[in-house]
Symmetry: C2
Subunit: 379 residues, 2 copies
């Protein structure tokens, strides 16, 4: 069987050839003027994608390391934290705060739902004020996107900081870091930013710095004060993953060349096609149309189809990788990623593979119905 | 001027073509069976290089992150720690322990010197017992290698754990993790392991696990208990830097193919050539012959030659990069790295470049004297 793989898992996502080529460049010293120029260029491009004028740094770690940097630099033991949890990654963010000793109040939603501002206001009245508010922009585990704008307006009127996990949406969805008043925005390289995993990107607001400066939690590698100090000479405090910086620079260039509005539009269309195609094959959804993620679609198999079995068959027979469910959703859903280096045609391929998989499992579906529905959604 | 660069800085080091090619492989899901197989293979090879039967994990971070993992998992606030500091990186390790609240006693040496076991014994008598002992195997800032064996014998008789930074020597020097009774051995990808920066490797002894399990310091990304749990399925708790794993696997394969004794011998010979060549050009040394590092040679310019000026000229006129001094040694020394993807001929090239640089600066040296001395040392 041909060793050709189709990657539809929500990170790492497929790597563009230009990124692979960039990563093959000879190693350079991170204390060289060449690296300083590279880092400076990356930060400028990343600020455009983040839509921010805030400080922005690149750390050598996965996205989880980026979330830990956000928490360790702003939360000390005993601090009151409000965590908006709509899925697994929101829960991880909350758990991180607890590990750093925070007194965490959770505003929780059912899988597939987004949060409700009235719940936030209620929690604030009952348990507030909070020092820090944690939110997930795009919840990868359930395929929903939270509306951060009203949350930002609310938190912006308080002394609290708003920390947002945009790991699986930055570079795919219109994220307005400054307009939404997000104090620490976190993303990572391996999702819509089309670069292999290993880098986290964080923007930090002017409002956040005094809190970071005063914060007592022990941290060294993830100390943002060190990152700020080193950035004075466009450098990093510790040895950065130079190859990934090369790759990220190429990927950001691709995004800005395509144009942010076009990138956002493409992701929206891919999501529509994924939903229409899945629906045409009899799948249901966790999320409704309005809050469904533009980067990852969580689908619920039709009666009689076992999600894990279908996923395994697609992997073994066609080298097609979808993600499964996490936590309580394990075995109940499939997740199709359509972000980063992914086109509408790639989504049709995913739907065609799903259709083949279902037919091979003996499901009674009309051949072509999935791709037909997806195609119509794109017309 | 031809855009061809000669990298003699002690990390990142030059990348072998096989590593670059491996890193260009298509992205894969880190939850795939393919990744599990890759991680398993890397760990087996790394254990051979570490000469250990202990558990071993690969973290996505620089070496400093690896040192923080060692500290955050074994040190709680108030713990008594003995830190052996022979240079900048030893000081960084000690500072890390202090950030995690340790009560640190330092055994300190002058730049270019290694530590003395009698100082350790004295410190133990006066201030001990300690819970944790920190040591640097190869001090990159001064180019000396500490003898860890007697320290390991000493600490092994106590309840303390020995944490060793072997970032700039692992894969170049004969390091016997188990024979030396090192509880946590730390290295990283970008030095003698010939892979771009972004990965830290840690081995953990059976003696260390109960301490790690009981440790109270907050940590999430660097939590070794999570690394151990995930390794049950040859996986990582957070998204790993997949491309760097590809690269590291190829690099470890190169090391084992060459054969560890041959690799160690090559590094020893490169160090001899670097010293002889530098001496032939009138340079002095920080370290003496017996304790001089096999991976990095720190040289003191002859009277009248300014280290920073020479370094800058080499960089600008020949694209040759040496490292300078750190801290108190800033502007006083040059450091030539000869580790990883580096041959004896590459050392001759470095010496030839030094010679050209000196001559262009008007130094009165006999043409060819550096390369001649280095070559004779290799006969």
């Amino acid at each position: 069987m041909l060793d050709k793989h189709y990657l539809y898992t929500p990170g790492p996502t497929p790597m563009p050839p230009a990124v692979a080529a960039a990563m093959g460049q000879p190693m350079t010293s991170h204390r060289s003027s060449g690296f300083a120029k590279l880092y400076g260029a990356i930060v400028e491009k990343a600020k455009a994608v983040f839509q921010t004028g805030n400080d922005l740094y690149v750390l050598t770690s996965s996205g989880t390391g980026g979330l830990e940097a956000a928490v360790a630099n702003t939360i000390s033991s005993g601090d009151k934290v409000l965590a908006i949890v709509v899925g697994n990654f929101g829960e991880r963010f909350a758990r991180l705060a607890e590990i750093y000793g925070a007194d965490v109040t959770r505003v929780q939603s059912s899988p597939g739902e987004t949060f409700d501002m009235t719940d936030v206001e209620k929690a604030w009245e009952e348990k507030g004020p909070f020092k820090i508010v944690l939110a997930t922009h795009n919840e990868t585990s359930t395929g929903v996107t939270n509306d951060i704008a009203p949350l930002g307006r609310f938190v912006g009127q308080t002394e609290a900081l708003l920390l947002v996990d945009a790991i699986s949406s930055m570079g795919a969805v219109d994220i307005r870091t400054d307009e939404w008043q997000v104090d620490v925005m976190v993303t990572s390289s391996q999702k819509a930013l089309m670069t292999p995993p290993g880098l986290a990107l964080l923007s930090i607001s002017a409002k956040a710095w005094p809190i970071i400066e005063a914060n007592k939690s022990p941290r060294f590698y993830f100390n943002l004060l060190e990152a700020r100090k080193s950035f004075g000479t466009k450098n990093t405090p510790w040895t950065p993953a130079v190859s990934l910086f090369y790759g990220l620079n190429a990927a950001l260039e691709m995004i800005l060349q395509e144009g942010l509005p076009n990138v956002f539009h493409r992701h929206h269309r891919m999501a529509k096609a994924a939903r229409a195609g899945s629906q045409g094959l009899g799948f249901g959804f966790l999320a409704d149309d309005c809050t469904a993620s533009h980067t990852v679609t969580a689908i619920v198999p039709p009666q009689g189809v076992e999600a894990a079995g279908l996923s395994k068959a697609l992997q073994q027979n066609m080298h097609v990788s979808f993600a499964g469910g996490q936590g309580d959703l394990k075995g109940k859903i499939l997740r199709i990623s359509h972000m980063g280096y992914c086109s509408e045609l790639d989504v049709l391929t995913a739907i065609a593979a799903l259709e083949m998989g279902l037919m091979k499992m003996g499901q009674d579906i009309e051949p072509g119905s999935g791709v037909k529905a997806a195609g119509l959604a794109l017309l």
